[in-house]
């Protein structure tokens, strides 16, 4: 029932609305109170008041009040609209959409409601609904170009290219004259239309259209790039060549242009006959510009033999003469080819011994330059012997020490020294050394950041935060760590979390990885504003790119890395719920009576501590509601150490938050499939586990972990406590064939063992399987595991994995000590094997 107000209150209500829009919440509340004093059940006023309360972080009160408002005035679109806004603010989009639709039913032509509905539909990718809403909005206000464009965008995103193009065309036809060149919105809209035509697959027409509009488009680069692309696609090589050459004249360092130019010329790097032509092509570009790098560096990728040697010699001398510090990183991708690696090593060693010529190809003599050249060469060699494909840490150390003798205050040299320690496994010394490097230049943010990372690798979480704090805004709520969260400094959060994993501080680790997942949620949330903003600004192409990027947001490597770790912690929790209680893990060893006593005691202590903590918090809350020094308020973190996360009753279900996006968006990540299998097997979702197994099989059929999991899967399904639905077992029977149903698993494992007798990881997996099949083989396995350390190419990481395996088998401390001693004798620097 609409509730009309007397005119005085009507004026008040209008001012209430105005106050809300102007964010003058206090005044707004006052006006609302004034109306409610006379008309306590006025729904619209209550709804507006709820909206203001919600803006003041009183969400619960807002919801209660808004429900009351709806009760008082079911037929008010304002109440329903506010109800939707409240749902939106807590990110429950489905409910919000429902409420908006109710509001629309009462007031079908309200642009505000329509707009809010449309934005939400786009956010949840309900394109059919989005088209409808956008159409209505366009019909309400056809004068606004953005309404037309928006409708086209809706069709485009829904995959209906023809309709999208039609909308844009129809609008263009209503224009009496072509808009002036300065009209950015028009320029963008035409280019947008062009990309729609191209995406519909009609390149021919896209090219024709582009030629018509190119004169009026303000984004020159994009227009040129599109044109070149279309020409190449249509096979009009000569014109395409010209187009790419034009682009290269504008930017001759952009590699993609060179790649495409090669294609237009029909040259192939794998064809020996073409190599000479390619070489000439790049030489012509190199000659055009003395300082151009791309044209000189690219040929090193495809040249071979003597031609490569001459070219790389020239390239290296040039860079080393100039003392370019990034020479090695720029070159190292060539090391994939062992021949090239050998040639480069020989050449640079030659420069080092051959001081007569001072390395300069032209024989230039200049005292200063020669010293620079020598240092560059030594620095190059130090990095060379430190690099994984050409590692010889002893030599690397020699070179870096020589450099440090010359220039002990160099940040770069000290950093490389630290890096060498890191590769030797000595994270302790690495951290000390890089801290020394940092102290040499405290205003260098790069070395500061590196230093924090090395400290985290050495599990010095506090020191690292202290280091980071030199460049963070420390007056933020939560101090430096709070700022790192606000700034979404993901590398730090991940490294911090991984350091906690190594220290078995599961709560804090999980806390950090959850923070990463939260950041991705924020990114997803962030696009909301752009559904309207981009249209207002007319930047449609960038907007479309963004929407598409958001759809596969979580395939980002950072997400995967944090997610794999988080899932692993949840798996541990599922195996051992006691993990959530740090003091209890040690109690396993005590006998039951003593354990009970100890547990009781621990519980009492915990309660005491909790009480003290709560009191402290209450006192702090009374003082200020988590106010930062800069006056900004923020909700207080009630679980700073992640204890609550650990106490989850359903760790496997909680793991799905991390697992699902990974399996959906990064299906080619082997680690994701491996942890996915573990989770689904534990949840007894056998088909899902099998899917992970099959995907892993496709990625790397000989992966050792896959072997372990295949055997365990066969075991699991052969001794189920209750039978699976017949259809499910039929699918498993048909799809899961290795090892076969009646296979002798031990023999199967032995075959695997023999096949990979020289690979540390495979052997470890095979021994683990042998143990799982028959745990009487434990001592044999322990012996064999130790022997792996004798293999010539076993790495520190693999040796560490072996140690972890011993813990899994619950081997005696002696056995572990033995293993550690043996590993330590092989990697004398490595800190992980020290006791």
């Amino acid at each position: 029932m609409p509730q009309p107000l007397p005119s005085k209150e009507q004026t008040l209500f209008r001012s209430l609305v105005k106050h809300y829009e102007g964010k003058q919440y206090k005044k707004g509340l006052k006006a609302a109170e004034q109306i409610l004093r006379k008309h306590p059940n006025h729904g619209d006023t209550q709804a507006m008041k709820a909206l203001i309360l919600n803006s003041q972080n009183q969400g619960d009160e807002a919801f209660t009040l808004c429900k009351l408002a709806l009760k008082n005035d079911m037929k008010s679109h304002i109440c329903w609209h506010v109800y939707g806004l409240l749902w939106r603010s807590v990110k429950n989009y489905e409910e919000a959409i429902k409420a908006y639709k109710f509001a629309l039913r009462i007031e079908p032509n309200s642009l505000n409601i329509l707009r809010d509905l449309a934005l939400l539909q786009c956010q949840i990718r309900d394109y059919e609904g989005y088209i409808e809403s956008r159409r209505k909005m366009m019909q309400e206000r056809p004068q606004l170009r953005q309404n037309w464009t928006a409708l086209a965008v809706a069709y485009h995103l829904a995959g209906n290219f023809a309709e999208a193009e039609n909308i844009l065309k129809t609008y263009e036809e209503t224009l009496k004259q072509t808009p002036p060149k300065t009209d950015l919105e028009h320029s963008e809209a035409t280019l947008y239309k062009n990309t729609i035509i191209a995406e519909s697959g009609d390149t021919e027409r896209a090219l024709k259209h582009l030629d018509e509009v190119v004169r009026n488009s303000l984004d020159r680069t994009a227009a040129l790039e599109l044109r070149a692309k279309y020409l190449l696609k249509l096979g009009r090589s000569q014109e395409a060549e010209k187009a790419y050459r034009t682009l290269l004249d504008r930017n001759s360092e952009y590699r993609a242009y060179f790649d495409e130019l090669e294609k237009t010329l029909g040259l192939s790097r794998s064809n020996a006959a073409d190599i000479e032509k390619l070489k000439e092509l790049y030489e012509s570009y190199a000659n055009k510009n003395e300082r151009n790098d791309a044209a000189r560096r690219i040929p090193l990728d495809f040249l071979k033999g003597d031609a490569f040697k001459t070219a790389v010699d020239q390239y290296l001398r040039r860079k080393l003469n100039k003392g370019v510090p990034s020479t090695f990183p720029n070159i190292k991708s060539l090391y994939r080819d062992p021949e090239k690696k050998a040639v480069i090593e020989e050449l640079v060693l030659g420069y080092a011994s051959d001081k007569q010529t001072n390395g300069s190809a032209q024989g230039e003599v200049n005292g200063d330059t020669s010293d620079r050249f020598e240092q560059s060469v030594l620095y190059f060699l130090a990095q060379h012997y430190n690099y994984v494909r050409s590692r010889d840490l002893k030599k690397a150390n020699e070179y870096i020490d020589r450099l440090l003798e010359k220039d002990p205050k160099s940040v770069d040299y000290n950093q490389t020294k630290a890096r060498i320690y890191k590769h030797a496994g000595d994270v302790q010394k690495a951290s000390e050394t890089i801290n020394h490097a940092r102290e040499l230049d405290e205003r260098d943010r790069y070395i500061n950041t590196k230093c924090a990372k090395y400290q985290l690798r050495n599990n010095e979480n506090e020191n690292a935060l202290n280091t980071m704090s030199k460049f963070t805004r420390n007056e933020t709520v939560g101090g430096p760590l709070g700022d790192l969260h606000d700034m979404q400094c993901m590398w730090y959060l991940i490294e911090d979390g991984e350091a906690y994993v190594r220290q078995q501080k599961w709560g804090l680790a999980l806390k950090r990885f959850t923070a990463i997942a939260d950041i991705f949620d924020v990114w997803h949330e962030d696009q909301f504003d752009f559904h309207s903003f981009s249209l207002r600004k007319g930047q449609i192409r960038a907007y479309i790119d963004m929407v598409r990027w958001e759809d596969h947001l979580r395939d980002h490597p950072f997400f995967t890395r944090a997610a794999v770790q988080a899932v692993k912690i949840y798996l541990k929790l599922a195996d051992n719920p006691r993990l959530s209680n740090a003091d209890q893990t040690d109690l396993d060893k005590l006998d039951p009576v003593e354990r009970k006593k100890a547990e009781k005691k621990a519980k009492k202590e915990r309660e005491k501590a909790e009480k003290a903590e709560a009191e402290k918090k209450a006192a702090a809350a009374a003082k200020a509601t988590a106010k930062g020094d800069d006056g900004e308020t923020k909700k207080e973190d009630t679980d700073p150490s992640g204890e609550k996360l650990l106490q989850t009753k359903e760790p496997l279900e909680a793991a799905l938050r991390f697992l699902r996006p990974m399996l959906e968006l990064s299906p080619l990540n082997l680690e994701a499939q491996i942890v996915g299998f573990e989770v689904h097997l534990k949840r007894e979702k056998y088909l899902l586990a099998l899917k992970c197994l099959q995907s892993a099989q496709e990625i790397e059929p000989e992966n050792p972990k896959l072997h372990e999991q295949s055997v365990r899967f066969r075991q699991a399904i052969s001794k189920l406590s209750e039978p699976l639905p017949s259809q499910v077992s039929q699918v498993i029977k048909e799809s899961f064939t290795t090892p076969s149903t009646d296979a002798d698993l031990e023999a199967f494992n032995n075959d695997f063992l023999e096949k990979h007798s020289q690979s540390a990881s495979h052997l470890q997996s095979a021994y683990n399987v042998r143990y799982l099949l028959d745990n009487s083989s434990k001592s044999q396995n322990e012996e064999d595991l130790k022997k792996i350390l004798d293999l010539s190419d076993v790495t520190i990481e693999q040796a560490e994995a072996g140690l972890a395996l011993l813990s899994e088998w619950k081997s005696d401390e002696e056995v572990k000590d033995d293993y550690r001693a043996k590993a330590a004798s092989r990697w004398s620097g490595a800190t992980v094997f020290k006791k």
Binding site: V17, D116, T174, K176, Q694
Partner: protein, 114 residues
């Protein structure tokens, strides 16, 4: 992108517009809106309203090409099985079954191997 915004317009996560009730409010909101639009050069003087109206009418929703879906009978029990075992939404499970002639074993095998 550099033109300054009027101070009354906050970009990005602005609070949503208030739902306006009375005719006057609507007028005020419309005025505010058009102000906004002029700032962004949205509404132009040379817009031909007649042409727009005509254009809009010409846009009438075209007959949707009814995609000829194969009529496949899908058992509710099979859908429930797929939802439980593969943790798909009901809609996806139905689609998957439809794509596999309504055969649950075939559908699940296809899901597992791809």
């Amino acid at each position: 992108m550099a033109e300054p915004q009027p101070s009354s317009i906050s970009e990005g996560a602005a609070d949503p517009h208030a739902p306006t009730g009375t005719a006057e409010d609507r007028k005020a909101a419309a005025a505010l809106e058009s102000l906004d639009a002029q700032e962004d050069g949205g509404e132009k003087k040379d817009v031909d309203n007649k042409a727009l109206d005509k254009a809009m009418k010409g846009l009438n929703v075209k007959d949707k090409k009814g995609e000829e879906k194969k009529i496949v009978k899908v058992e509710a029990a099979d859908v429930a099985l797929l939802v439980a075992e593969l943790e798909l939404s009901k809609q996806k499970a139905t689609e998957l079954l439809r794509g596999n002639d309504g055969d649950a074993v075939k559908a699940m095998a296809a899901f597992v191997t791809t």
